[in-house]
């Protein structure tokens, strides 16, 4: 369990990430932290959520008593339809991803490198469940955003100079939301854009394996 303070930072990270979703976008929210973004999307902005098991137009998660046994997202959660929902087979669902119709995906990460490399599918010798749809989402979504804790449970930075774990997709990530900061992947390296309330730039730099570029302007908090 996260401490209460940590839990609040995570909740703020998720709320902040939700603001990056623009009107008209088609968005796939990965299992874990990204799925929670859905609860922060304003109802009046037109957004189409996609899940790779074959659905476009997803509403909120449903309680057990209201769930439809045939209607889940790729994480197995019971979800609700919206007016305009469409169901499709797995080949069409991934045609949407690989064919360039997915504007954004938000994914979890084991490691993200400063050049945008993403590792989130395999820890050799310990965790090899298969890549699922992750490689296609990471390689083909127009914008790949990572939502992750800044450090792992042992306090090691998940934002690294170079990934040590097997790669999901190369140079795919453009922005990283963590409980501590918002980081952009740029040709010059990682740029610190925003930081969690109560933190200092120094604390973030210390918690990060990869070097950070710190813009001269006042740093916004989230």
């Amino acid at each position: 369990m996260l401490s209460s303070a940590k839990a609040k930072m995570v909740a703020r990270m998720i709320a902040r990430a939700a603001k990056d979703i623009e009107p008209g976008m088609v968005v796939n929210l990965g299992i874990g932290l990204p799925t929670q973004v859905i609860e922060h999307l304003p109802a009046d902005i037109p957004i189409c959520l996609h899940s790779e098991n074959g659905i476009t137009g997803i509403g909120s998660a449903l309680s057990m008593d209201k769930a439809d046994r045939n209607l889940i997202d790729a994480g197995g959660a019971y979800v609700s339809p919206v007016p305009g929902t469409c169901y499709m087979d797995s080949s069409v669902s991934f045609a949407l991803v690989r064919g360039g119709r997915l504007d954004m995906t938000m994914l979890g990460a084991f490691e993200v490198a400063m050049n945008g490399d993403l590792a989130n599918w395999k820890i050799p010798g310990r965790f090899t469940p298969g890549a699922g749809g992750g490689m296609e989402l990471a390689q083909k979504a127009k914008k790949v955003i990572v939502l992750t804790m800044h450090q792992d449970r042992k306090g090691r930075s998940k934002i690294v100079r170079k990934c040590t774990l097997p790669i999901t997709a190369y140079g795919c990530v453009s922005r990283i939301f963590t409980d501590m900061a918002v980081l952009d992947v740029t040709p010059d390296g990682l740029v610190l854009r925003e930081m969690a309330k109560g933190l200092s730039v120094d604390e973030i730099v210390k918690a990060t394996d990869a070097p950070l570029i710190i813009p001269a302007n006042d740093m916004p908090f989230f």
Binding site: P46, C48, T56, G84, C86, Y87, S91, A95, R98
Partner: protein, 230 residues
């Protein structure tokens, strides 16, 4: 969560198509051909187009109006036998025609839509239609490499659309429409009926809305759809 509204008016949709564009047109014979969008493209006048369509319709109909108006540089098709005008233009070298076996054309378009680079097939091996195509061996079998096809624009004809661009086709008017819907940068659908989002059963939609950019409601159906002896 609400979904975006993609309805527009026909001239705004078609004016986007520039000279030199590659344009896919739905339809097999008459059913599913976007005759009204094609008429607007004739009015608009974009030149040097590469047209990808199963057939060339008949003389004096659909694609033939683009040919008559000198807008077509190249035609990628499976069979143009019902349009003697198109055959004449091909024979006199005024347009280039690339023929493809019908189901392979469907698969090449679908592959483009599915973000694949190509497909491997044994169809047409040893025939004139293999000319110029590379080969690869897979599990001891020689196959032809058929490259995926994509277009700048796809013009479709739907029976029913909702405002988000979910499309449903009827009967044999489906044909190439749902494949082309996946395979173009900009997808424009004319529709006989326009309904609010939520009115289509989500299990009965043939083309999911995210593939479609613009929906044009037809004010009247093209006369090309009249039932006549052919």
């Amino acid at each position: 969560m609400k979904l975006p509204n993609k309805t527009t008016i026909i001239d705004k949709a078609i004016v986007q198509i520039p000279d030199g564009a590659t344009v896919m047109l739905g339809g097999f014979g008459v059913p599913g051909t976007p005759f009204t969008l094609i008429e607007e493209l004739v009015q608009h006048g974009a030149k040097n187009l590469t047209i990808i369509k199963n057939d060339a319709n008949e003389t004096g109909m659909g694609v033939d109006h683009l040919l008559e108006n000198g807008q077509v540089k190249k035609l990628v098709s499976t069979h143009i036998g019902l349009n003697t005008h198109a055959v004449d233009l091909m024979n006199s070298g005024k347009i280039e025609v690339e023929f493809c076996p019908q189901g392979i054309l469907a698969e090449r378009i679908r592959a483009g839509g599915a973000g694949l680079q190509g497909i491997l097939t044994d169809i047409a091996i040893g025939t004139d239609l293999q000319d110029g195509k590379s080969r690869v061996e897979i599990k001891g079998k020689i196959c032809i490499v058929e490259p995926a096809l994509r277009a700048d624009f796809a013009l479709l004809h739907a029976d029913t659309a909702d405002h988000f661009g979910n499309l449903a086709y009827v009967a044999t008017a489906r044909n190439f429409n749902p494949l082309m819907a996946m395979a173009a940068e900009t997808v424009i659908a004319e529709t006989e009926h326009l309904v609010p989002v939520g009115a289509l059963n989500p299990n009965h939609i043939h083309t999911p809305g995210p593939f479609v950019d613009q929906v044009v409601l037809l004010e009247k159906l093209s006369e090309a759809y009249n039932v006549v002896q052919r």
